[in-house]
């Protein structure tokens, strides 16, 4: 029930129930429970609204009395912020109500949980009550998700101490969601009371909004900008924030914005607000349920109400009972953010704004800072000192996607041409002109915003200043008014001081026996014939400037002369693979249009020529060398598309042997599986980078082919790897062709060098991604496409000041697909803080996870996997412990309190820990692990998000008349209903899971067969059927495919079929077969870790 659901908050309330029911069923798998919960829900809902306003019901807290100590853990999300919406629709209920899902027993708990929510709300409400107060409450909102605690809990529920503590805590815990675990009693582990963060309560906050006009001002900024996190903080913080934020967010928008924000942040603004007014009463309702709250015996003001206390006794046992619905739900957070931020454009003018979540579809307006599509940070408020940073352990990192694709409505970076003199730069640090440069002396000089050095303005660039000190041409110059823009580079920025030639694409096709026999060669040749007309073009150019060349190979290489003047292509065989060279110059790289007929003839003949081949051995390194040499000879950069099938065992440089050994897993030598066999490829990669030769690799292995080694060059040159194990024409052709098309067509830059400059005080110290570095500052990429991301970590080397904040400037020098040399500049300004709370309030968990995953995935190269996992857990525990210690209001040690912005950290972290790289499943091959390791390393935040926490959509809930997606549900088997069909996607695969009890009609509509048993195993496509359901499902799949940079493999899974094992692997909240912890268990573990740290 409570599970996640419907996205629509608004309606939720009213509808919720129905929706829920449905949900529940699926979730529970048709357990009887549903019914009950619903009821509860209903009740809740009703109350909810009321609640929100009522938030104030401080009484609750107390009541909750989380006295919890003895009691189990309770989760509180400070988040009072949670959007009311959530509550209404999904979460709110879920969190609170969550309990039901668990087991029959849970039912009762469900109730309980609900109540907690109520409490949460209360909290919010509280803040609302007093302007000043508000904040405090916010910070600590508790949603004691005492959920687990069955019966007793309910009553116990939360006591929110908040009110009292409010003020103090406020400041600290803004967004902290807390899970109170019973500290004292050993039982703690058992009973995890999750104060479901359910900000739903938050709705309450809205109230505050009203009341608290004042505070908002400060927050306004937050509001508008900071999506979820801010929101979280917003609400609660509101109050506290004001203090804290106040200063930084000088923005004016204040009040109005504020409210919005709050709304946004919490739940959705609208609904709530309205409600608010009336809400109070609502609260009562909650209260009613929670009513029981009275229990709040011990309530500390701050402390999280831990229902547990009451339960204490019972709890211990129940510990395992923790209600999954009571713990922070990714779905809920995503939905909240979506509803809060999805509608308004995100305007980047303000320093340190936290953008909406990556899962939210929002429009960006560049007003001086780079769009979050280009840069996302783990925190938008950086500690001023390194001590603080160390204390918090929150990594400071930016995830940069310099050539990211924008939404069509958004404008591409403007191209600025400063003529022969080139871009204006700081004399000392060489930073490029940007909106943060300060013009002084009437515009004759400017002071660098990074290093403070003063530089003369070149005469041709001089402009007068207006009375505010702004240049008069401020709005005419992108580099003065925008966060992202491009400069046309001068010849000084080019290799050898020569403007580059247009790049080239070289297609290198394995024509060994396997490739030919599987039909791959024919397929590629056929596809290339048409694909060549879609090479990337610059702007509005008529035809692509990119030249193409063709090579086939097995043990030897075949080059083709496709010069337009020839009647027939000519093949040139190079068998001297030990010392590769390019046999021809003229006619190898050609313009597609000029040589069209020759190329067509060639592509026709290649499959014929090798039809009878019996050569099974292949070479690999020489293939790359050949491409590299060809580009060298043509003096251009370019990309190699290599289609390869097997481990290169033929006698040649870079020859490999099969060294796959599963026995190494979980030993100290496991790391060798991720390391290349030989350093040969590293050196080759270096040469490739120097020439701007990017390598894209399409692998079609039937057995181990050592991705870890073959991928080295691809990886270090900024290329992509695509892997199609056991490639079969019928099933994999679409996926491969789509990938190929996209890969060929996507926007790409060549011969790129990226440097990240920062204000004095911090420094980019570490880089993650697919690139090569020859020194410590320049990230070199032979090729960089619109999907590639570089994660950069910063460290302090000095102090920052709150006043000036911190600036990042990412400058990317690259060659466009037409051969134009350009500089793309992205600027981002961040706030700095002296209070840890500010840091926690402005973090972004998705980005954090992106960083942590990359960090860990690199770690496996040098350390045993176990060490890496432990380090991850440890770091996160420290982050959360620091929060608990410094920001959260004092509360019982047994309570788990999570910062609002990081309340998903545990669940996501668990997903990372359970991922195939860090904890391989049984079916996972060494190649898969190496493959994924490399993939993740250049993923952006959105991709890591869905990769680690897949999206699970109940297809049967889809509204066939609208084009929206059904609301996602949490990744747990218990959320699946036998009577429904679900879709799960993680960016690589799409599973369609069919329950055994699905109505025949649906099966007929979707699969065109009459019964469940007739759905054939291993199906990989959906038949095209003319009925609304089939169309809807296919359109959903198409839509998802569009969103991802790779075409996902579609796998139809029947419940209780063999394949289901595979599918279950992706239900990441559950315990995994390979030993990965369930969410609940992990949360307990985390809590224990934190407590250990705190004690």
């Amino acid at each position: 029930m409570s599970v996640n659901q419907q996205a629509h908050t608004g309606p939720p309330y009213g509808r919720p129930q129905p929706g829920y029911q449905g949900y529940q069923q699926p979730a529970y798998g048709g357990q009887p429970l549903p019914g009950v919960p619903q009821l509860q829900y209903g009740a809740y809902n009703g109350p909810m609204p009321g609640y929100q306003q009522p938030a104030p019901p401080q009484g609750y807290f107390p009541s909750l009395g989380f006295p919890s100590k003895g009691s189990p853990v309770s989760l509180n999300s400070d988040t009072s912020s949670l959007a009311p919406n959530f509550i209404g629709s999904l979460r709110a209920p879920s969190t609170s109500g969550a309990p039901p899902p668990a087991s029959g027993a849970s039912l009762p708990s469900g109730h309980l949980t609900y109540s907690p929510f109520g409490q949460g709300d209360v909290q919010n409400g509280i803040p609302a009550s007093a302007a000043a107060v508000q904040r405090p409450p916010a910070s600590q909102p508790y949603l004691p998700g005492s959920a687990p605690m069955p019966v007793s809990q309910t009553p116990t529920f939360q006591q929110y101490g908040p009110p009292p503590a409010s003020v103090q805590q406020l400041s600290n815990h803004m967004a902290g969601m807390t899970i109170g675990s019973v500290a004292a009693s050993a039982p703690p582990p058992a009973g995890l009371g999750y104060g479901a963060p359910r900000p739903p309560t938050m709705p309450g906050p809205p109230l505050p909004g009203q009341t608290v006009a004042g505070p908002p001002t400060t927050q306004p900024n937050h509001v508008s900008s900071p999506p979820p996190p801010s929101a979280m903080s917003g609400p609660q913080p509101g109050p506290p924030m004001s203090g804290l934020h106040g200063p930084p967010p000088p923005t004016h928008p204040p009040q109005p914005g504020y409210q919005m924000q709050q709304n946004g942040s919490f739940g959705q603004v609208r609904g709530p607000q309205a409600n608010y007014g009336g809400t109070y009463p609502g609260t009562p309702n909650y209260g009613s349920q929670p009513g029981p709250p009275p229990p709040p015996k011990r309530l500390d003001p701050d402390s999280i109400p831990s229902p547990q206390l009451n339960e204490l006794p019972p709890q211990q046992k129940p510990r395992h009972r923790i209600d999954p619905d009571a713990i922070p739900s990714p779905i809920q957070v995503i939905e909240d953010d979506r509803s809060n931020c999805g509608s308004e454009p995100f305007v980047t003018g303000v320093r340190g704004q936290v953008p909406p979540l990556v899962t939210t579809d929002f429009l960006v307006k560049d007003q001086g800072n780079a769009s979050p599509r280009y840069i996302r940070c783990t925190s938008y408020n950086i500690p001023c000192t390194s001590d603080m940073a160390k204390q918090s352990q929150v990594p400071l990192a930016a995830v940069i996607k310099p050539l990211a694709t924008l939404r069509p409505e958004e404008t591409l970076p403007y191209l600025v041409d400063h003529g022969e003199s080139g871009p204006v730069r700081c004399n000392r640090c060489k930073a490029y002109m940007c909106p943060f440069m300060q013009f002084i002396e009437g515009g004759r000089r400017f002071q660098c915003c990074f290093c403070s050095c003063v530089t003369e303005v070149p005469p041709h660039y001089f402009q007068h200043l207006d009375h505010t000190g702004k240049r008069v041409d401020f709005y005419d110059r992108p580099e003065l008014s925008l966060g992202s823009y491009e400069f046309l580079a001068t010849v000084d920025y080019c290799k050898n001081n020569k403007f580059p030639s247009p790049p080239a694409f070289i297609f290198m096709i394995d024509v060994s026996y396997n490739a030919v026999k599987s039909g791959l060669v024919r397929l590629i040749c056929e596809e290339l014939k048409s694909l060549l007309d879609y090479l990337p073009r610059e702007g509005n150019m008529e035809e692509s400037a990119i030249r193409v060349g063709f090579v086939t190979y097995n043990k030897v290489l075949h080059f083709y002369n496709v010069k337009s003047s020839l009647a027939q292509p000519q093949m040139m065989v190079v068998s001297d693979v030990a010392d590769m060279f390019v046999p021809l110059l003229d006619g190898f790289l050609v313009n597609v249009n000029e040589s069209r007929t020759v190329i067509a003839s060639l592509l026709d003949q290649i499959p014929e020529m090798f039809a009878d081949t019996r050569e099974t051995e292949t070479v690999f390194a020489p293939v790359i060398q050949a491409g590299l040499e060809a580009l060298k000879a043509a003096e251009c950069a370019g990309k190699l598309f290599i289609f390869h099938t097997s481990l290169p065992i033929a006698e040649a440089p870079g020859k490999l042997k099969n060294r796959d050994d599963k026995k190494l897993i979980n030993t100290d030598k496991e790391k060798t599986l991720f390391q290349p066999q030989t350093s040969f490829y590293n050196n080759l990669a270096k040469d490739c980078v120097a020439q701007g030769c990017c390598v894209d690799l399409f692998l079609f292995p039937n057995q181990y082919l050592d991705v870890a080694t073959l991928g080295v060059v691809t990886y270090q040159t900024g290329g992509s790897i695509y892997k199609y194990a056991y490639f079969q024409l019928e099933t994999d052709q679409d996926r491969f062709l789509n990938d190929l098309r996209r890969d060929v067509q996507k926007e790409v830059g060549f011969d790129a060098v990226m440097r990240v400059r920062t204000s004095t005080g911090i420094r980019a110290t570490d880089f993650f991604g697919a690139f090569y570095m020859s020194n410590t500052t320049d990230v070199e990429m032979a090729g960089l496409d619109c999907d590639k991301t570089i994660t950069v970590e910063f460290k302090h080397d000095d102090k920052l000041s709150e006043d000036s904040g911190a600036l990042l400037q990412c400058a990317l020098l690259y060659t466009s697909c037409a051969g134009q040399r350009r500089l793309r500049i992205h600027n981002l300004s961040l706030n700095c803080c002296t209070q840890l709370a500010d840091l926690y309030r402005n973090c972004e968990t998705d980005t954090l996870i992106n960083y942590l995953a990359k960090y860990a995935y690199r770690g496996v190269l040098s350390s045993p996997v176990k060490t890496v996992r432990d380090a991850l857990v440890n770091q996160c525990a420290q982050i959360l412990a620091c929060y608990r210690k410094n920001c959260a209001s004092p509360s019982s040690a047994g309570q788990l309190i999570l910062p609002e912005c990081m309340k998903l950290l545990p669940v996501y972290l668990n997903c990372v820990l359970k991922s195939d790289v860090l904890q391989p499943g049984l079916e996972v091959t060494t190649d898969d692990r190496a493959y994924i390791r490399q993939l993740v390393t250049s993923m952006d935040v959105a991709e890591t998000n869905v990769f680690f926490y897949p999206r699970l959509l109940p297809l049967t809930k889809a509204d066939v008349d609208s084009d929206s997606l059904p609301a996602a549900i949490r990744n747990s088997e218990e959320r699946l209903s036998k009577g429904d069909i679900y879709l799960l996607e993680n960016g690589l695969n799409i599973f369609v899971w069919v329950g055994v009890n699905v109505q025949q009609g649906l099966i007929q509509n979707l699969f065109g067969v009459s019964s469940f048993s007739q759905i054939s195993n291993g199906l990989s496509t959906l038949p095209v059927l003319e009925n609304p359901f089939s169309k809807k499902v296919r359109s959903i799949i198409d839509m998802l495919q569009m969103q991802r940079s790779r075409y996902m493999k579609l796998i139809i899974v029947k419940q209780e079929d063999k394949l289901e094992m595979l599918f279950k692997h992706f239900l990441v909240e559950d315990k995994s077969l390979s030993g990965g912890a369930s969410y609940v268990d992990f949360l307990c573990h985390m809590h224990k870790e934190i407590r250990q740290l705190l004690s």
Binding site: H558, M572, S575, L584
Partner: protein, 767 residues
């Protein structure tokens, strides 16, 4: 046999052999005192209209170390059906097939007129001829076009079943696969890397790989294409393909920047060609025909760097030991030449460029394998075109004038041993009883391989008389030599060509005049010249000249008639009279003088000198000069500056050049256009006569000579002036009568001075 001259001539016509001495001194000591060694010029395949080959196997002496062929000099016992080998005196039974022989029913090989006989034998499979074109693409467009046309034309000249292959090279080397349809396919090699034969064969897929048979795949009849078929195809099958392929040949596409030479990988290209044939058709007649338009500039065998500012080595550099690539390159090509020769493949070099092309380094390829060497200015000249065409000339019987894979086996009577050979051959290292310990030329063997030869190919073979002094004149009074040449005829038949000759022994002390009279001074001059040139390849020029001078002086001392210390008393008999003059011209010839010649030119001249027959060799040593005038019919005149007169037209044939020189007056007349006037038709005829004669020479000679038409005062007149004996120079202009022709501006000594010195030295008792 009226005179020795006639005897010599007759022998030459019948056997293709000319000995320096036609009566042999009977002891080692005497023989050495003769100065000119006992030696002969052998033209193994000299064309004879009257010699139909016999269609059976030769009969061999049964002694394993002898194996001489039954010949007219053998004693035959017709009744016992026995014959005695005239070399080892082994008595042999005739084979059964000879059961019917008798005094009146002799097989051809026993008849005296068949001292030279040719057998056709049926042994082994008949292999088609193989032609592998190795074509440089770093040429000027015009040159390449001309070359392509020549090559295309040549396809029509090849026998239809001949196999043909194509390798092109520039910066890279491409081995073209001729069999495939559709896409034309070639294997490409980089020009900087030397590859072993094994590597080349592996890379070309020539070595049969252990074919990994796919399991579960039906075992199709394993394709058994003749392994080489991809690269070497019968002309009639790939005629069209190859013509197109040649037509599409492009210049080497790699850019050549200002101040650089194109990168030309001749060394590796040849290496691949040799490796390819080695792997596919060992011991089968094949021609690798290298067409190059410049020096190798990279990889093994490079002769000069690609920087134009570094000129290619000159004689000066070589003397100063300043030619940094020469030794290595030479070694590279020598290795290749030896490999090719070992497999019976020959390498032709057609080098056309204005500058040197590295013939010096590459010469051994042609020299050791019997290949042709042709040097021209451009492929777009008739010199090249016609020369190339002439390679495929057919003889009177409609057969190609080329033979392959010949093995020359020389057998001698006991009193003689073989000291060596000089010519387009390599040693087969066949040690035997008749091999002398002292070497002249390529020695230490009694067998040589000549990978390619034509009817004019001539070897110089040197002997040593081993009879002890005071020993009696050997039994029978005659010494015998048998030359057995087994070869692959152009019709692909295997043939054995046997020549057996005998000469009388004479006691040098009592019968010196016989020996003297039987001296063949022409042959001797050529044989000595070959020795000199052979030495010049490895020794300093002046040393060779000194050696030649000493030999000449010794010869004069031995055979001249004079009173001691009285130069004026010096006389030479008729049979020696021309010899000093030959030596005079030889000393001035480009074979020994490198001044004014590039190393390439020297190599080129020497190459031809070492293989042409006696007549041609003599022309090379002492060019022929004809005069045309109104004073009489055309006549040969002295090769002397005094022959250059204003009212004469001169025609000089140096073998390499044909020079027509109009005397001063004639030239003026011609300018005035008299030849156009009907009343001066005789002048027109006069002008035409030398042209016609020149044409005749041009038609027959291989390689085609450079044709020069010049006149008094013309710049090209230098070709003439540098050859004539400078009897009149600026130094002695007024010492001579006014009559005579043109003074030559030179410090070279004239024949007169040379002779004076010679006499003086010869008669000197101090010498």
């Amino acid at each position: 046999m009226a005179t020795y001259l006639e005897f010599i001539q007759q022998n030459e016509e019948r056997d293709g052999v000319r000995f320096s001495w036609n009566v042999w001194p009977s002891s080692r000591l005497e023989a050495t005192r003769m100065v000119v060694p006992l030696a002969c010029l052998l033209t193994p395949l000299k064309e004879r209209l009257d010699l139909p080959p016999v269609q059976y196997e030769p009969v061999l002496c049964s002694r394993p170390t002898c194996k001489a062929v039954l010949n007219p000099l053998c004693q035959v016992d017709y009744r016992a059906k026995l014959w005695a080998c005239n070399f080892c005196f082994q008595r042999n039974q005739f084979p059964p097939a000879y059961a019917g022989i008798s005094e009146v029913n002799q097989p051809a090989e026993l008849m005296p007129q068949f001292s030279t006989i040719e057998y056709i034998v049926q042994r082994g499979p008949q292999m088609p001829l193989i032609f592998l074109y190795v074509v440089d693409t770093c040429l000027e467009e015009e040159d390449l076009q001309a070359l392509k046309e020549s090559l295309q034309m040549s396809l029509s000249l090849l026998p239809a079943d001949a196999l043909v292959g194509l390798i092109t090279f520039g910066r890279m080397i491409q081995v073209h696969e001729l069999s495939c349809e559709g896409i034309s396919k070639s294997f490409v090699f980089r020009g900087t890397k030397d590859l072993t034969a094994k590597q080349i064969q592996d890379m070309l897929g020539l070595s049969r790989p252990a074919v990994p048979i796919q399991q579960g795949r039906p075992l199709q009849a394993p394709e058994q294409p003749v392994i080489s078929s991809r690269f070497l195809q019968p002309v009639h099958k790939v005629d069209m393909n190859l013509t197109d392929l040649l037509g599409e040949l492009q210049r080497d596409p790699w850019p050549v920047t200002q101040g650089k030479r194109p990168l030309r990988s001749t060394g590796v290209a040849l290496s691949i060609a040799v490796g390819l044939l080695e792997g596919t058709f060992p011991n089968t007649g094949a021609r690798i025909m290298l067409f190059t338009g410049g020096p190798p500039t990279q990889g093994p065998g490079m002769v000069v760097g690609d920087e134009l500012k570094m000129p290619i080595r000159s004689w000066h550099d070589i003397e100063k030991d300043n030619a940094r690539f020469m030794k290595k390159a030479t070694k590279h090509y020598e290795t290749l030449a030896n490999r090719a020769a070992a497999n019976g493949h020959c390498i032709d070099i057609y080098a056309c460029a204005l500058d040197q092309t590295g013939l010096l380094e590459m010469k051994c390829c042609a020299n050791l394998t019997g290949g042709h060497m042709v040097m021209g200015d451009s492929f777009n000249t008739s010199l090249f075109k016609q020369t190339f065409q002439r390679v495929f000339n057919k003889g009177f019987n409609g057969e190609f004038r080329m033979a392959f894979g010949a093995c020359l086996d020389v057998k001698t009577s006991r009193e003689l041993k073989i000291a060596g050979a000089i010519g387009p051959c390599i040693s087969l290292n066949a040690k035997g009883p008749c091999v002398s310990e002292s070497e002249l030329g390529i020695g230490g063997t009694s067998q040589w391989k000549i990978c390619s030869l034509d009817p004019s190919t001539t070897l110089a073979i040197y002997f040593e008389v081993v009879n002890q002094h005071n020993a009696p004149i050997p039994q029978g009074g005659r010494g015998a030599v048998q030359f057995v040449t087994q070869y692959q005829h152009s019709s692909t038949q295997k043939r054995i060509h046997v020549t057996t000759i005998a000469r009388n022994w004479a006691d040098a002390q009592s019968q010196l005049q016989h020996i003297e009279a039987a001296f063949d001074q022409e042959a001797a001059a050529v044989l000595m010249a070959r020795l000199g040139v052979y030495r010049a390849e490895s020794e300093e020029g002046p040393d060779v000249l000194r050696w030649l001078d000493r030999q000449l002086i010794r010869l004069c001392q031995k055979f001249g008639q004079y009173s001691k210390d009285d130069p004026n008393s010096f006389r030479l008999s008729e049979s020696f009279s021309l010899y000093p003059q030959f030596m005079f011209h030889l000393r001035r010839s480009p074979f020994l003088q490198v001044f004014n010649n590039s190393p390439d030119e020297s190599s080129y001249y020497r190459h031809h000198f070492a293989r042409q027959d006696l007549t041609q060799s003599l022309i090379m040593i002492q060019p022929i000069l004809y005069a045309y005038s109104f004073h009489g019919p055309p006549e040969p005149v002295l090769l002397d500056s005094s022959s250059i007169l204003p009212d004469r037209i001169l025609l000089m044939d140096t073998f390499f050049q044909i020079v027509i020189y109009l005397g001063e007056t004639i030239a003026q007349w011609q300018k005035a256009g008299y030849q156009e006037m009907p009343e001066y038709e005789n002048f027109k005829h006069l002008l035409q006569a030398p042209l016609d004669d020149a044409q005749e020479i041009l038609q027959t000679r291989f390689p085609m000579p450079r044709y020069i038409h010049t006149e008094h005062g013309g710049s090209q007149a230098r070709f003439l002036l540098s050859k004539v004996n400078p009897s009149q120079t600026h130094n002695n202009l007024y010492a001579w009568g006014q009559e005579s022709g043109a003074p030559i501006l030179t410090d070279d000594v004239s024949l007169q001075v040379f002779m004076d010195h010679l006499k003086k030295l010869a008669v000197s008792s101090a010498a």
